[in-house]
């Protein structure tokens, strides 16, 4: 018996009470378990993770702001059109002003302009929306589909486990980027939704494996054994005992996975095969600016920094939450 195993788990309590124990904060000092608020979780974070969380919040709200500006306010909010070439373009004559399109940072263009005079700050902010949506869709797909499949096969095992995990292993063994390139080429449509769904589909195997591993472990716990012993139906055990205990780990994994997904989208964009142009993404910004690296290195650096900070932040916050949920799980 581990230090955290409660004597309650070996008794024939109703499964409801077992569930509460299994999903709650481990009892400390005999006090009642309680959920932590977001603010309390933030306070627990080390300083670096705090900065990471703040960055993610900025990215999140920046992306929402950019989308609202475009869709709801028709560009009326104080953020430049990310696709407008600003070098004194005269729409009445179709002509551009003199001088090089690429500008350094200024009050008008905080991060300067790219090779065709588009505002880089606006493009970085709008690029966050693509990353955000793709990461969110991939997480939802992964958690819902991959999580459920993994939890199910981890619980039932047997032939279903062997068959489904073989399929998952095959998908995992195939290079994700190659598969992604093939699927994007076949589908031809490059909307954000399609790209998100494709990447979401490819996220399923990783979530399945994580969910299965956790499900296998949890299925052997005393409270699950107890629930079986009192004749609780498998479906009830699965959804009331196992899934709620797998979910926190999956949620934490989703953050780490989101970082990977954003990099994958960036790779796809870099290859020119992500969402349709002229939609700004960090990957396609890097791709388009690399040609002029010797002329203006900053146009590569800005989106690269945004990508790096976001991925780093997701990893930091994700790792923190994984550790936190591991502590909680080990106390079951």
């Amino acid at each position: 018996m581990t230090a955290t195993e409660s004597p309650d788990a070996s008794t024939n309590y109703p499964s409801d009470s077992l569930t509460r124990v299994s999903t709650a904060e481990p009892p400390r000092g005999g006090g009642p378990p309680k959920r932590s608020s977001v603010f309390e979780v933030f306070k627990e974070m080390p300083l670096l993770v705090k900065f990471a969380a703040i960055w993610l919040v900025l990215v999140f709200f920046g992306a929402i702001y950019a989308k609202l500006d475009t869709v709801v306010f028709g560009g009326a909010l104080p953020l430049q059109d990310p696709n407008l070439q600003t070098n004194n373009f005269n729409a009445a004559t179709g002509t551009f002003g003199d001088g090089a399109p690429s500008e350094g940072p200024s009050l008008a263009h905080w991060l300067g302009t790219d090779a065709v005079a588009r505002d880089t700050f606006a493009r970085v902010v709008h690029g966050a929306w693509v990353s955000l949506i793709i990461a969110a869709v991939a997480a939802v797909f992964g958690v819902v589909v991959g999580g459920l499949i993994g939890t199910f096969v981890g619980y039932v095992r047997g032939v279903a486990d062997s068959i489904i995990m073989s399929i998952i292993d095959v998908i995992l063994a195939f290079p994700a980027l190659i598969l992604l390139l093939a699927m994007v080429s076949i589908l031809r449509v490059r909307s954000l939704l399609v790209i998100s769904l494709v990447i979401g589909f490819l996220s399923i195997p990783a979530y399945t494996r994580v969910a299965r591993a956790n499900s296998l472990s949890i299925s052997n716990r005393e409270f699950v054994t107890a629930a079986r012993a009192i004749g609780t139906k498998d479906r009830t055990i699965l959804f009331r005992e196992v899934v709620p205990n797998v979910l926190p780990t999956l949620m934490a994994f989703a953050l780490v996975s989101a970082a990977f997904v954003i990099v994958v989208e960036g790779s796809l964009s870099f290859l020119g095969l992500s969402v349709q142009l002229p939609t700004a993404t960090w990957g396609n910004m890097i791709n388009q600016a690399r040609r002029d690296l010797r002329q203006d290195i900053w146009q590569v650096i800005w989106p690269s920094l945004a990508l790096t900070f976001t991925v780093l932040s997701l990893n930091q916050v994700g790792d923190f939450l994984v550790k936190r949920s591991s502590v909680r799980a080990s106390s079951l």
Partner: protein, 604 residues
């Protein structure tokens, strides 16, 4: 259908096109003999070069380097890609491949500095009056790398392999080549099914021009790509795909230079694919490679900056006929209406597009199939091509938009929808952004941008049998080359589908590689007539007619002529100004394709 099968189908269909085209008429009886004499004359006196050329345009003059030749040394060349293969009959041989292949294989004919085919492995050629029979005499004493002697029978034995090859089969049919016979020890007779005065141009190309050892090719067709056997100045030593291919001196090479010195000068030469442009330039600057090629204007710009900043490199720049731009699929509405095509071209801010492409001061604006440096360039065509004129473009488009009978079926006043598609290259994406902004600023166009990889991009334009209409609308494309105009223009002008051929009264004449689907009887007739004569003035007039029709109908639009470059460390000499066996100046380095037999390294 497999890719190979598709190529063969295309070749077959196009052969019908040329066969029927050749049946169309023409009665010239001019004969030609090449050698040191050329069959082409200078441009007519009434053609003036443009006076609005870019101030820093590419202008490396082809000239023989006067420095003393030195034997020994190795040069490593950075290429923009790995060669897909080194089988001339089977593998696509673009610019990187050509750099490599030209060290192993010799061509029967090579271009001179005026881009006219001149004998190379061939010693002389005679042609009959109607351009259906070319008798080529080979040089004696030439041996392949495996010791086999080059004879007329060698060339005859190559022919069945070329007929079946994925790449060369198309060249066989489009050149009208019907048979190759050894009619003497060193005399080869090429028989054409139909007249083609430009046939020798095909013998300067990789598909039919490179001479390979047919015995080795037949013995191991697949292995030939790793162990190619030619008569070239270097022999392959090792081939590590995507890493390095090394060639060493062919001590039995048949050529000497003008002073009688045995070629090649170098001990060995190595080729490394370095796809990233910046990395390739950095590799040259750091000495990781000693030479590099580039077909990107932005890289030329950066290399110029490095040179001007003190880097010890020599840049050999070239700007030929190859011109970027795009085409409209005239088989689809609204592009079936010339008002739409003309209006969109008038709304193409060409100067700004070239700026976005990184070509300001490097690329000359294109107005036609030929660059201003070409003898085929025409002032009349340049004047006729629609220039950027926003108001005129809006007015032209407005006329279509307000037409109740507009072809796209939209209501009067509704903007037209245009899908502008290019491969996902940063340079092209920048150019697309400019075009989109100006088109959309008219208020009469809704432009959607799409990108597909190169293969899909081409497939979208090619379409599927039987009509080969394609699904493209406004499509980025490259046009022209520095070889004979017929090689590129004739296939682009033939009927694109059986239905159009039928309607034109020339059933069976189909060219699936007429990607714009534009068929103009007047232009096509001129193209057919142009390969039935070798008189330059006559041919010039015919190609000018074609240019004027294209400027009138605007199935394609132009941005700038493509600048290319070979950059070398300054102690590497001879890339510029190689000579032909006759002693005449060769064609330099078009398309960043170097000839490495006459390159030497000056010891530091």
């Amino acid at each position: 259908m497999t890719k190979r099968g598709l190529y063969k189908l295309l070749a077959l269909l196009f052969s019908f096109a040329l066969i029927a085209a050749a049946c169309g008429g023409g009665d010239d009886d001019t004969s030609a003999e090449t050698g040191t004499e050329t069959t082409e004359a200078a441009a007519p006196d009434d053609t003036e070069p443009p006076d609005d050329t870019a101030p820093d345009e590419v202008e490396t003059e082809i000239a023989v380097d006067p420095d003393a030749r030195v034997y020994g040394g190795t040069v490593t060349v950075g290429l923009e890609a790995e060669a897909t293969g080194l089988r001339p009959w089977e593998d696509t041989c673009a610019s990187p491949c050509m750099n490599m292949a030209i060290t192993v294989f010799d061509k029967l004919f090579e271009i001179d500095s005026g881009f006219i085919p001149q004998p190379y492995l061939a010693e002389s050629v005679t042609v009959n009056d109607d351009f259906t029979e070319y008798v080529v005499t080979l040089r004696s004493g030439v041996v392949f790398h495996n010791g086999v002697e080059l004879t007329a029978q060698t060339i005859a034995d190559m022919f069945p392999i070329q007929q079946a090859g994925a790449q060369s089969a198309g060249a066989v049919t489009s050149s009208n080549l019907a048979d190759v016979q050894a009619t003497g020890d060193l005399e080869v007779t090429y028989t054409l099914s139909m007249p083609n005065s430009a046939f020798l141009a095909f013998l300067t190309q990789a598909e039919l021009g490179f001479v390979f050892e047919p015995g080795a090719a037949a013995a191991d067709p697949d292995g030939f790509t790793f162990a190619p056997v030619g008569t070239g100045p270097f022999v392959i030593e090792s081939r590590d795909l995507d890493n390095e291919t090394v060639m060493v001196r062919n001590n039995d090479y048949w050529r000497t230079d003008a002073d009688g010195m045995q070629l090649p000068y170098l001990d060995s030469i190595a080729f490394r694919p370095i796809p990233d442009e910046g990395t390739r330039l950095d590799s040259l600057l750091s000495g990781t490679v000693n030479a590099m090629q580039s077909l990107r204007q932005a890289t030329i710009r950066d290399a110029r900056g490095e040179r001007d900043g003190g880097a010890d490199i020599t840049l050999l720049e070239f700007q030929g006929n190859n011109v970027g731009g795009g085409m409209f699929n005239v088989a689809l509405p609204p592009f079936d209406d010339v008002r739409v095509r003309r209006g969109l071209v008038q709304l193409n801010n060409q100067e700004q597009v070239i700026e976005a492409l990184g070509g300001t001061g490097i690329s000359l604006p294109g107005t036609q199939w030929f660059s201003p440096d070409s003898p085929w360039w025409s002032q009349k065509v340049a004047d006729a091509y629609p220039k950027f004129d926003f108001d005129a473009g809006v007015a032209t488009l407005q006329e279509y938009v307000d037409d109740p009978a507009r072809s796209d079926g939209k209501a009067v006043g509704e903007p037209i929808d245009v899908e502008l598609s290019c491969p996902p290259d940063p340079t092209l994406i920048a150019g697309m952004a400019v075009i989109q902004q100006v088109w959309d600023a008219s208020g009469l166009v809704n432009t959607t941008l799409t990108n597909f990889d190169q293969q899909t991009h081409i497939a979208n334009a090619l379409g599927a049998p039987p009509d080969f209409v394609g699904i493209h609308q406004a499509h980025c494309w490259r046009f022209s080359s520095d070889n004979d105009p017929s090689l590129d223009l004739n296939p682009a002008l033939a009927p694109p589908s059986p239905a159009i051929a039928e309607a034109a009264g020339i059933p069976g004449v189909v060219s699936p590689i007429n990607f714009s689907n534009w068929f103009d009887p007047e232009a096509f007739t001129a193209a057919v007539a142009a390969i039935r004569t070798d008189n330059f003035e006559e041919r010039y007039a015919l190609y000018e007619t074609i240019g004027l029709r294209m400027a009138e109908e605007v199935p394609i639009w132009f941005s700038g002529h493509t600048a290319t470059m070979i950059g070398v460390e300054s102690n590497i000499k001879g890339v510029n100004g190689w000579i032909l066996p006759s002693g005449e100046l060769g064609g330099g380095f078009p398309g960043a394709e170097g000839r490495w037999a006459e390159v030497w390294v000056v010891p530091e």
